[in-house]
């Protein structure tokens, strides 16, 4: 039977088992919306800004591992989506974005609401398509989902001109698709894996450095098994938190610019470093020159060959899927007669404990002003460490990463690569829709929350009872910190003047809110927010926190891992 392009689009999404489409209508996608209206296979969530549609699809994807889907109209709809797409691209999130386009004969005519969406998004997508012929529509959407979710995941955009959504053709959704130019590897090279295992067994000061690739490939189980089997300490990147349980004695927490003293010292002084789904980001190893000052051997497991030997030279590259490679390593280690040198390992772990005893995350617990760190510790306590926590970008993000000790993967959801303020609230919507019964907290700052605050309306319409934990320091705190440290305390434009009354604002949108000024009220407010009574209500907690608190440790730009500013 012949279907219109709009029907085909909707049918394809249903065939892919899509549960939610986050979107916003407009002229170029009206035919698609008309078909959405007529179907009940998936739900459409009407956001209040296209950026939020993409972040919500992104949050959904991060929390579930499934491909997020967003739908936007041509022109401004597409340009509004760009920040969301770039955010997903930098963090390798599987996502399909469908954008409307002006009709094919109008393309290139400066038509109403025409932009070159494929051109604009090209540098921030894994791939994109302009569908010019309706006969290619179904197979293009199939390809989009395939590309987005395999190999190193990423966003794929499909731009569909309005006339293509009107034309008709036979519909058949391809079961499988193979692309001659795209064959991501999974199994690592056996020889390299053997070399790596030998190197690990010979290590005296080993260190596991695990990143977002462990989360993306659902390899937390294998990583934990490997670390425990060998008894090796493990650090996680900001994107890798939860990939190894923070409560495990072998965990040294996050490394990098705001990583712990013990993690950064241990990585710098390790003799064998195994990087697993991590990309040696500049925020992680600091200056490569300083990093090279200590000799160490590096094993790097990554599915994307271009991540390997990009910023640092690697001794044993292993291109492959993390769980596959780790499973093979574990097998080899178990059957090997050799064991790591236990005396050396013990000395090394003792050294790490010494570094840990520096207590680099300490803060003033006696203060009568609310310390942001205290709120996060209490959040962990009240939620039993079992919440999904999204965050925005700034100091609050770093404190959440440091103080909410994540034991499980996919619980910590933040924009690491692009560092997009405005991510937290819409991402939390996607998370809560994916896990309706879970506790979802959005940790944010008064700067960040205002970048997508309109989504409070979406939360009301779709009954999304997430909890907003606003660490309100009346500053663009992260900017203020840099100005304090590096710009002679000249606080240029970093004070958030004329803030709204957030409690009233939340109430105006139909939610509940509370302002908290004293440390003594913190726990009570959190308990209230997560109480059975508020189970179905969005709660906005406005914590008035210390305005001048800084994030420590900190590696200043251009410095090395062991050159931290400590409190």
């Amino acid at each position: 039977m012949e279907l219109t392009g709009a029907e085909i689009t909707v049918r394809c999404l249903a065939e892919e088992g899509v549960e939610y489409v986050f979107g916003y209508p407009g002229g170029a996608v009206l035919n698609i919306y008309d078909e959405i209206y007529k179907q009940d296979k998936f739900k459409h969530v009407l956001v209040r800004h296209e950026q939020a549609a993409v972040h919500a699809a992104d949050g959904y994807a991060r929390a579930t591992g499934r491909t997020g889907v967003a739908l936007v109209t041509s022109g401004p709809g597409a340009t509004n989506a760009v920040t969301g797409i770039a955010t997903a691209y930098m963090d390798s999130i599987p996502m399909v974005v469908i954008s409307g386009q002006v009709p094919t004969p109008a393309i290139g005519m400066d038509a109403f609401q025409e932009v070159d969406t494929v051109g604009i998004t090209r540098p921030c997508v894994k791939h994109n398509f302009l569908v010019k012929d309706i006969r290619d529509l179904a197979s293009t959407i199939k390809k989009a989902f395939f590309i987005a979710s395999t190999g190193r995941p990423g966003p794929v955009l499909v731009d569909i001109p309005k006339d293509v959504t009107q034309f008709k053709t036979d519909f058949e959704y391809p079961k499988n698709i193979s692309l001659r130019s795209y064959n991501p590897v999974t199994k690592g090279h056996t020889g390299q894996i053997k070399r790596a295992v030998q190197m690990l067994l010979n290590a005296k000061r080993p260190m596991i450095y695990a990143g977002g690739g462990v989360i993306l490939s659902d390899a937390a189980k294998q990583l934990t098994e490997l670390a425990r089997l060998l008894g090796f300490p493990c650090t996680n990147t900001l994107m890798g938190l939860g990939g190894f349980p923070a409560s495990d004695p072998l965990s040294v927490g996050m490394l990098g610019m705001h990583g712990t003293y013990e993690a950064n010292m241990a990585v710098q002084h390790s003799d064998v470093l195994v990087a697993i789904g991590a990309r040696f980001d500049d925020r992680v190893i600091g200056s490569p020159e300083h990093f090279y000052q200590e000799e160490r051997q590096i094993i790097h497991i990554d599915i994307d060959p271009s991540s390997i030997s990009k910023r640092v030279r690697v001794d044993v590259p292993i291109v492959g899927n993390v769980p596959d490679v780790l499973t093979e390593m574990i097998k080899l280690i178990k059957t090997s007669k050799e064991k790591p040198d236990q005396t050396a390992l013990k000395t090394w772990l003792t050294q790490i404990e010494l570094w840990r005893s520096r207590d680099c995350l300490k803060y003033d617990r006696t203060s009568d002003i609310i310390k942001p760190q205290f709120v996060l510790e209490k959040l962990h306590e009240v939620t039993g460490g079992d919440a999904f926590v999204t965050s925005d970008v700034g100091q609050h993000q770093m404190w959440a990463a440091q103080f909410y000790k994540f034991d499980k993967p996919r619980r910590w959801i933040n924009s690491g690569g692009l560092g997009t303020m405005g991510f937290g609230l819409p991402a939390a919507m996607g998370v809560q829709l994916a896990h309706p019964d879970a506790m979802v907290a959005c940790v944010t700052g008064e700067g960040s929350i205002q970048m997508n605050i309109q989504e409070l309306a979406t939360c009301k319409q779709f009954n999304i009872p997430l909890k907003i934990i606003l660490l309100n320091n009346r500053y663009l705190g992260m900017v203020r910190q840099w100005q304090e440290f590096f710009y002679g305390e000249r606080y240029a434009e970093s004070y958030m003047d004329t803030l709204p009354d957030f409690v009233k604002l939340a109430e105006a949108y139909g939610h509940a809110g509370r302002r908290i000024d004293n440390p003594a009220e913190v726990e009570d407010a959190l308990k209230w927010a997560f109480s059975a009574e508020m189970k179905n209500t969005l709660v906005f907690l406005d914590f008035r926190t210390d305005q001048t608190e800084n994030v420590y440790p900190m590696i200043p730009g251009g410095k090395g891992l062991s050159e931290m500013i400590l409190v």
Binding site: V118, R122, K126, I147, R180, S181, Y182, D304, P305, S306
Partner: protein, 155 residues
């Protein structure tokens, strides 16, 4: 690479976005109309070339990437040069073109248009050898390359 609209801009965009330089780039469909073949001439340290290769391979439209300079290869470029051909120039230009195995493919009272193919350095040498004042216009395609002997790109 796939002979798809947009494939060329993906490659060009990759080079500009990552700050790699392109000395020349040529592309055209092959005997298989669904495939195009591109030759890019670029310069960089071993690490940079390795990254360029990996990043190109990552593009979905790219089927295969080889670094021709890893082995024996042949490189050819086509150049068209319009030169002055009046008075004493006329004989001189003909002579130079012959020496460099060029062909005069268009003639007017005042000009010759010379066609020449060869490796880039040969074309450079020809231009060097000409009197600067004689050159009216040049157009070059950039290099196309292919492996020497039995070495082929198909896998």
């Amino acid at each position: 690479m796939e002979n798809e609209a947009g494939a060329l801009s993906r490659v060009a965009g990759l080079f500009s976005a990552r700050g790699y330089n392109i000395e020349s780039l040529t592309v055209a469909p092959t005997e298989d109309a669904t495939l195009s073949r591109m030759t890019i001439v670029t310069r960089g340290s071993d690490e940079v070339i390795e990254q360029i290769t990996k990043q190109l391979n990552k593009l979905i439209d790219i089927v295969r990437v080889v670094d021709l300079s890893d082995g024996q290869h042949i490189e050819r470029e086509l150049m068209l040069v319009k030169v002055r051909a009046e008075g004493e120039w006329r004989e001189e230009m003909k002579r130079m073109s012959d020496i460099f195995r060029g062909r005069i493919i268009d003639v007017t009272d005042k000009t010759y248009t010379i066609e020449m193919t060869g490796a880039g350095h040969k074309l450079d040498a020809f231009l060097e050898a000409l009197d600067k004042g004689a050159i009216l216009e040049t157009v070059r395609t950039g290099a196309s390359g292919i492996g020497r002997g039995d070495r082929i790109l198909k896998s």
